[in-house]
Subunit: 332 residues, 2 copies
């Protein structure tokens, strides 16, 4: 049988347990040209909160009654004459929160889990890794000597953004919640400084840690942190809008950045990014990221929770911050 | 004697009459290498409000007791061996709100008022013209077929932005206050549509006038209009932040655009601009703008009020909107 998580209603504010429901259905058979994949790991990402809203963003919303969309990695159990995927192949897909999926292979790709363990393909070598890579290099346009500030810095994307910026010769300051995460940024990831937004005054901390201002701000959180960062922009600074996790569960309008005129004064640019725009070049990025990982220059943490039944409590860790690195659900 | 307007105190909110004071001083003599210029016209611009705040922006603030900074145009009355400026030359300068100035010619340039009347050199061929030209072409990066929305559309900058965009084959929608201005946009400047923000619901009007969304939004006003415009961005849209006149007299924090995540969803860019960055290419822009004017392709209005004594009431027209086109003070 295939256990699936369906979207049950559209949440207002933080999702509650009624937001989704589990159903169990027979495992379907692949038709001609299709494969059956058994999921091993499911990716939990802040973007999923956005897909639950009843509005088209960069991707259609998940409809009520549909399997909750999510990235997944698993193995081919059966192939009905699929042209390239064979039984036993390890496949990354948009398989959703369920134990099995049938696919014709569209938007799926094969990876080798004998070289790299599966969870990394959902993290540093998956969507968060690609987001960090293209976000900081192509949108942030970092160059040696830049001062780079990143929020959500201990998260799946932020931790990689900061490390890539360090590899490129930038000074990197990370914003994260709690001493444990801040210590991790400095001691394990090699950031130059860290700001604990839960205990520090943001404006004072930014004056202290970025006295010369910021050339690039990579924003995963929005809200007060984005606003404070805008107040520290240098001439021709770039602000990468990758996410706004502090605002996703707002019941009212989100908070706009009142310091946005810093863009004018500093001739700065604030640009949004969606990683799906870069799919054609994923292979190039994954190759470089993989090389850095093998050389010990890029490190990533996956925070893995077990059982499709724990989806709800695990998903909420994205918003409470009670996790470290890439959040993943282990299905088998 | 030289009548001067000095900054007397820093205003909170809308400036009052005490914000400035007049003084009368003897007309000074130019030293070696300097000229004495008699101002004919003084430029009144929204940016002046920003220069009165006690903080460095892209230019130092006007200090208390200093002559109020302003663009000006006038004629050389005396030259004490200035290398290039001769008596009778017509000069555009940052001479400030006063009847005469002494200068060594730095940041000044000579123009020919026998070809074009002086006020145009403060408008379409001056700072507002350069702002419009570089803002819409280099920051807005318009191309044929783009849908362009401009706020403050009947103003000195906005009216030119829209006309340049029309010349480049764009569809242009202007936002202005009042039927008179909206009629002007359509009937005299050739805009495709106009929205009267004083009487229309912005979101409904944008849905009606820009049903396909916006490729470029040129913002002179900030506040609710910026926010509404963000809700209509198309993929890869560009937002040019040129000014925020609706916010300059706020006593509290300015309002940030709560719809800024439209930048993310649409992979759009919001970029600030300051015209002073383009001084090296002013001559090229002025040449092209001048050609368009002579060919009857670009029209501009100057709204001229007489007497340095009317500065205060005239200046406030910038914020009440009770003016048409470029606001100018005629000094003699």
């Amino acid at each position: 049988m295939n256990k699936q998580l369906l979207l049950n209603k559209r949440p207002e504010g933080l999702p509650d347990e009624d937001t989704w429901k589990y159903v169990t259905k027979p495992i379907p058979e692949p038709k001609e040209g299709e494969v059956l994949i058994q999921h091993h790991y499911i990716s939990l990402d802040p973007a999923m909160r956005g897909w639950m809203m009843d509005r088209k963003t960069y991707i259609p919303p998940v409809e009520i009654g549909e399997v909750m969309r999510a990235g997944a990695i698993g193995k081919v159990l059966k192939s009905n004459n699929h042209p390239t995927f064979k039984v036993g192949d390890c496949i990354v897909s948009w398989g959703g929160v369920q134990e099995y999926e049938i696919t014709n292979g569209e938007n799926c790709y094969k990876v080798d889990d004998s070289i790299v363990p599966m969870p990394k393909y959902l993290g540093a070598l998956g969507m968060p890794g690609m987001t960090a890579y293209f976000g900081i290099l192509e949108v942030g346009k970092i160059k040696e000597g830049d001062i780079v500030l990143v929020s959500g810095a201990a998260g799946a994307v932020g931790s990689l953004v900061g490390q890539i910026a360090k590899l490129k010769g930038c000074t990197v300051i990370g914003i994260a919640g709690g001493k444990h995460k801040c210590d991790y940024l400095i001691n394990e990831l090699g950031f130059d400084a860290a700001i604990d937004y839960k205990t520090e005054n943001l404006y004072e901390a930014l004056n202290d840690k970025c006295p010369k201002g910021i050339d690039v701000y990579f924003d995963n959180v929005g809200g007060d942190i984005l606003n404070a960062a805008l107040s520290k922009l240098r001439l021709n600074a770039r602000v990468v809008i990758c996410g706004a996790i502090s605002q996703y569960n707002n019941k009212k309008d989100i908070i706009g950045p009142s310091n946005y005129l810093s863009l004018l004064v500093n001739r700065a640019t604030m640009q949004g990014m969606v990683v799906l725009d870069y799919t054609e070049n994923y292979h190039k990025a994954a190759q470089e990221m993989g090389m850095w990982m093998m050389q010990g220059k890029l490190s990533s943490k996956e925070d893995i929770y077990e059982g499709i039944n724990t989806f709800y409590e695990t998903f909420l860790r994205l918003f409470s911050g009670d996790k470290m690195g890439k959040l993943i659900l282990k299905v088998i």
